[in-house]
Symmetry: C2
DNA sequence: GTCTATACTTCGATAGAC
DNA sequence: GTCTATCGAAGTATAGAC
């Protein structure tokens, strides 16, 4: 069985996300997206009639990936907290990329992107709250995850960040 | 004594930062900056010969503000940790605005902006480390601050975030 | 379903008047 | 020190051939 070729539709969304993540929204132009996906601009605009539709489709795909992620977190073998922290550092997964891309769009004052991110976070905090039975702890851990994520995507991440966090969480009997 | 008029130079930097923070880097065009500062584009380009110079000047101003902030943090009456956390939520200060603006630029892959932010963070972590005498705790608190900051600037902030953090830090005998 | 050609707009930057 | 006028490049989007 031959590996299924990634559709042009998906390759375009991949390219859009990659450009947003690695170079920022100013660099994520239709020209650049089309070039990275190795399609002409006209080809791109057949699949997505406007840049706005590209954003919309990206957020739809993110929501699908997000539902799967929350389910994985809930049943992770080493517990939801460890799973959450480990995946707060950019692991290079498609989901991470989609997440970071959405954050870039959200910062351009896009309410759809903000809403999508808020919904994802709602899923995570629900699992943390349920697992920990402690609202303050759940929210603080979510903030730590946000911090890890932010540092990682602004070129500020420390190599040992996770080690220090685990150290502190052990003192709180979380790990 | 009459209040000193803000110079055109400063008004332009203020406008640039405000646009970056409230609408993102794609919206922070020379046209938009000039309009917000109520100067013509030609007027803007007299003060800053290119967009790059505008960025450079903004980062210079940020570094000055940053040095003053670290000093304030070190001698804050309610302690450096409380000072740091409270100012991690966007308080609307000029320093906050400059900081967020620099982060937007850093995300566009600008190494000067990343370096400026890294230096600022170095100042904060030094004070936290010195005050707490605990590397893991210092770094974790910095991550929480980053999380507060990120949420606040992505339209995701929770009203009670600080309350929950204080609750957890009390359990760690930090507050 | 993808391409080329093209229209229109906005962006960053220069030149020169005042 | 600030303005208007203008340029070339790049941005989004449309039309129509293949």
């Amino acid at each position: 069985m031959v590996a299924t070729e990634r559709s042009t539709h998906d390759r375009l969304l991949d390219a859009f996300e990659t450009l947003l993540v690695t170079a920022g929204s100013r660099a994520a132009t239709l020209d650049a997206v089309a070039a990275m996906a190795e399609v002409s601009k006209g080809g791109l605009l057949y699949h997505f009639h406007s840049k706005d539709e590209l954003v919309e489709a990206m957020l739809t795909r993110l929501r699908e990936q997000g539902a799967a992620d929350a389910a994985k977190m809930r049943t992770a073998s080493n517990g939801p907290v460890e799973f959450y922290l480990a995946t707060s550092m950019n692991t290079g997964s498609a989901f991470d990329r989609a997440l970071i891309a959405a954050a870039r769009i959200a910062q351009e004052n896009d309410s759809r992107a903000s809403a999508a991110l808020a919904d994802l976070r709602e899923g995570w905090i629900a699992v943390l709250r349920e697992h920990l039975g402690d609202e303050s702890l759940a929210r603080t851990i979510q903030l730590i995850g946000d911090g890890l994520y932010f540092d990682d995507t602004t070129g500020l991440s420390e190599k040992n960040a996770l080690k220090h966090v685990r150290d502190v969480l052990r003192r709180l009997d979380v790990l």
